[in-house]
Symmetry: D2
Subunit: 355 residues, 4 copies
């Protein structure tokens, strides 16, 4: 089911960039959780276009309207339906891109798959789809924070500039949602320069999950890292993911990469966290750490070669209110996908009576 994710906590979404509305259904959410609508609003605000000076200057009104599953402010255990109306759906003019395939976008592949495509702003493949992920993730976070689990992401590299010494002290402030560091201003400047040039840049987002008890995750195909990878790689623009020492581990010897243990308090004390909090697909109680590669957004003003739907050569130069980098807006989306995945595993784990 392409538009659903999760085993017993399942988010199903729908909606196109310029359709009537987007929305979703979060099913399997525990009853008795207080639904803090201000928190949902603040999460949506972090992802909203126009919310920081680094993103697109489009101003979308991402108001989440909860339609079911909440009664007198508390979750009832039944499916939580919500919608986000598209207030401005009919204003844009898409005649320039209606008949051609934008490089780096999903225009061609949607057409190849479905024989038909909603060309207005990318349709279903638009980044706007992630608004529903953030809404669902905000609900998952409300459940997780009651369990003492906290999820934070931050930008650690942009346009080739990478923070050498990441000091993890979330939450990270707008506009970039990056840890404080000498490189932070440089990264912000790189995004501003990209905007000025009509270019775009990518970067790396790190995510850390703390407070996860040992034992989460399933042994074989639904390993905790495998399902996190599935969830996070399903975000558009993500081109890679690594856990703990990740690709760096390929440069080390086994004795260097293993996390040695000493006597701890109730559970082993790990002397390092190269594993990124996961061993054999199961959480070990350390922080879960992963990093995500975000490609530069494909909409650039520089002229590019492409073809029309009928197969003729043409060129395209994209002007307008596009993100020079999707990095800051991707931060809450990465958190949301992590939150949904962890909450799902936590519920499955509870089924087996081990907490």
């Amino acid at each position: 089911m392409s538009s659903s994710i999760g085993k017993i906590l399942t988010l199903t979404t729908f909606g196109e960039s310029h359709g009537v509305a987007l929305g979703g259904v979060l099913d399997g959410f525990p009853s008795g959780i207080e639904i803090d609508e201000d928190f949902i609003r603040s999460e949506m605000q972090r992802r909203r276009p126009g919310s920081t000076k680094l993103g697109t200057q489009r101003n979308e009104d991402d108001e989440v309207r909860i339609l079911s599953g909440v009664f007198e402010g508390v979750s009832t255990g039944t499916a939580i339906g919500f919608i986000i109306e598209n207030r401005t759906q009919r204003t844009a003019d898409y005649s320039a891109i209606k008949d051609l395939y934008r490089p780096g976008h999903a225009d061609y592949t949607y057409k190849a798959k479905y024989g038909i495509r909603d060309y207005r702003g990318g349709g279903r493949s638009s980044g706007r789809e992630t608004s529903c992920r953030v809404a669902g993730g905000a609900l998952a976070k409300l459940f997780l924070r009651r369990e003492g689990i906290r999820i934070d992401a931050g930008v650690i590299a942009a346009g080739g500039i990478r923070i050498k010494n990441v000091i993890w002290a979330p939450p990270f402030p707008a506009p970039l949602y990056a840890p404080e560091s000498p490189e932070r201003d440089e990264m912000i400047r790189a995004i501003e320069e990209a905007r000025a040039e009509g270019e775009s840049i990518g970067g790396i987002i790190e995510c850390r999950i703390s407070g996860v008890m040992p034992g989460l995750g399933d042994p074989v195909f639904d390993k905790l890292d495998a399902t996190l990878a599935h969830a996070v790689m399903s975000i558009g623009s993500v081109k890679g993911i690594e856990f703990g020492s990740g690709f760096e581990s390929t440069l080390r010897k086994g004795s260097e990469n293993n996390d040695q243990m000493r006597k701890g308090n109730g559970r082993p004390l790990f002397l390092s966290n190269n594993a990124g909090g996961i061993l054999g697909g199961i959480s070990n109680g350390e922080d879960i750490i992963f990093r995500v590669a975000i490609k530069p957004t494909p909409s650039v003003s520089k002229e590019q070669l492409t073809v029309t739907e009928s197969g003729e050569n043409t060129t395209l130069s994209v002007h307008g209110r596009h993100d020079p980098s999707i990095l800051p807006r991707a931060v809450p989306v990465v958190e949301a996908m992590a939150a949904l995945t962890i909450a799902d595993h936590l519920l499955v784990e509870r089924a087996y009576g081990r907490r």
Copy 2:
């Protein structure tokens, strides 16, 4: 379902390293496919311990016995059950590791999750589990090759040595299953040296899938790259994955990373393949390309700090017939997971009558 993967072509596996047998069920496999048992045997042979001088010297007999779903040499469309008997299950002596947690292994996390663990050779978390993946993957390949789809993986980096100029001319030969290159012998030597030192090394495996028609993959959560990431990240020792230009794309500008298009033959001609064959989660007809980070195997003879099950400090030095690098043996496993994923998406795609 932790031990199952796939939406309509589903592989379910079972089995511990030192149990009676391992095995699996491949359900949803099309009828009428000739089951070439020699091919299955040759795939198993590539993964088998003791098959190359670079791996462990243990000699496991990985004979796949098909129990159902095949009649007179042809698949019947019903579930294909198979087992791989453990001939030597009782001989090993595990008293040395029975009561402690090996660093870098899943010993502690299994114990934390289940309250009980089969300590013999890692139990369910053993790399031996991947034998069932290769068996299932071999069947998937028999289906895919009839559809003109080919999947190859090869080692492109080991112990910090990386092939600068990868020339892709599969199949790649034993013992390393790496493309021919000046660095190949160096990589082999690095593994041999690691063995001599009682150490281990990791590396990078690249996988390329050719012959995939445009349109495979689902738009939102079950993007082709997201499900490939799920499948491949579920292999033990994999710590990262990237598609196309991957983490490298984070260093580029949008105009550099986009794959521009020209008029092609039936479909657009892409002038580069930074996307790795996937746009918006859907195949674009180019080769699908991904790279996988494999950590150094955790069993090393150098003494390491750890704790016992009862929480006391101790040390461990692993001797015996362990892999100095899992790289060559992981190659067919990566291919198998890719084959299962692609075959599943291909069947789903067929449901919608677009090929």
Copy 3:
């Protein structure tokens, strides 16, 4: 996933009787299907309260608003989201039943399950939930009718009166949606009498599906009849289902119950249809026939013994605009669940290239 049904064509629903809105997501729907909104409206009209003089006199406005997945009147292949607003959600007065458990309703079980319940009109357990099933089913029917598959249901028994000789000539007319027969007027009178007495009655609905090619359905757990039973039994008030000769077959000998065959045109000619069109869980090309037992609706004006939420004895007499029989309104719901199930199996079957 409790609020989702289907393997690759999946309907997910949400919504409470007196919440803001109900709605659903139909995912996996083929692209290129013309979405006939008039047809959807006419299907909704059949289920709508107040639509016939036999049902409740409440007047609900069941307008389906499609929010996504349709572009220029044609399905795009992406998730179809829809909502049905509750215009009159705040008017009712539920203080009389807020603190007690209505006999025959799900009040007690929801409270036991969730610790909290939306007592307004049954909340999620309300029959109003079926409006989303009819909306999803209408879409499925649009796909099926292009494939030559037709689904009709009709009332064949009500309040103990059963049509002796069912002549199947659908569509069946309002108000009862029953085949023409001497017993039809009697059944209508029985419902009117039940209303007059403040009582309720149940009955039997038959459903026939024609035009299904041989080969639909899966062999073991997802047999066509098993999944139809799942789908249909998930409708509130359904207490039983039987296929073909059903419970009657238990009175026969094997030689009487077998459907013998003669040479046919392209496929065997079955001389009878005791199997109800399904053998070994797979369609045989004959009409698929099943019958459903609908219990009398639990809301009656006769005083009944019950308990309060705090466990004290009390009595309840339900007055107001309730259905004396849910039979006519259940007809389109049964059809909808059958349509969703058949469409899902048809898509799976296509995956295997056998049509």
Copy 4:
């Protein structure tokens, strides 16, 4: 996934009547459960052909060999794989039925679906497939009995003879597994007479599940009765199912069919159980009661009209060691499917922390 059933406790099976072996994988089974192999053997014995004088005289050796997931007699939480070898697979002679379709069997539909069929004894559609269900169900029962849940089924009608006054005092004895009653001997005689005539008869099996706490089952599509219906209707030869007052409820008025309540001990005291222990798809704490219609087995010696694979008219008269009634052997299979379903719901329920 046709060969899998269950959401988080999943049974996957494989195997043909005359293949090498049948088997299954039970995944999601809790760790720490003592695996009583004698109990599994006794459950298998109840289903085994040749075990009672009423069934077939074939003598199959249904030995379950557990291959994984159990260590030192206790479940480890990992997938439990098992096989049942077919010792006598090659002896039978199927030349008489190889080229024709047996009436009432799945021969034609398998051929239509797959284009190929394993004609030996019905292949995958054989009743022998249920041996894996009983093995999986026995494991589920081991878990359930620790939770105080008990599942019993018994024959209450055979060949048109029905027990008027069912006194439920399980376990019910061989050969018929029917409650003690004046009709029991009559039913046994009816089966013996059917055998003598070369005929077959069907009947009704009732199943009761006691000790289920209120709150099991999901609200919308995965209602407890809907999933039980799915599981039980997936058994070959089952043509109908009803819960509580079932089809009989269609003859009653609402006030008669409602189960009224009085103050109870911790939960309401229901004054009747017409609901069959389920309201709105969720258990109410009363015994769950359902009845299943079993058709007469299709293999009879009376000559029957049929066609060959190539479409020519022919006749068939089945001789040999067939069941004159599948009723007694179906009893443990019905229990097994109920056990798997209840155990799965129980685990899901636990996830939500309400017990």
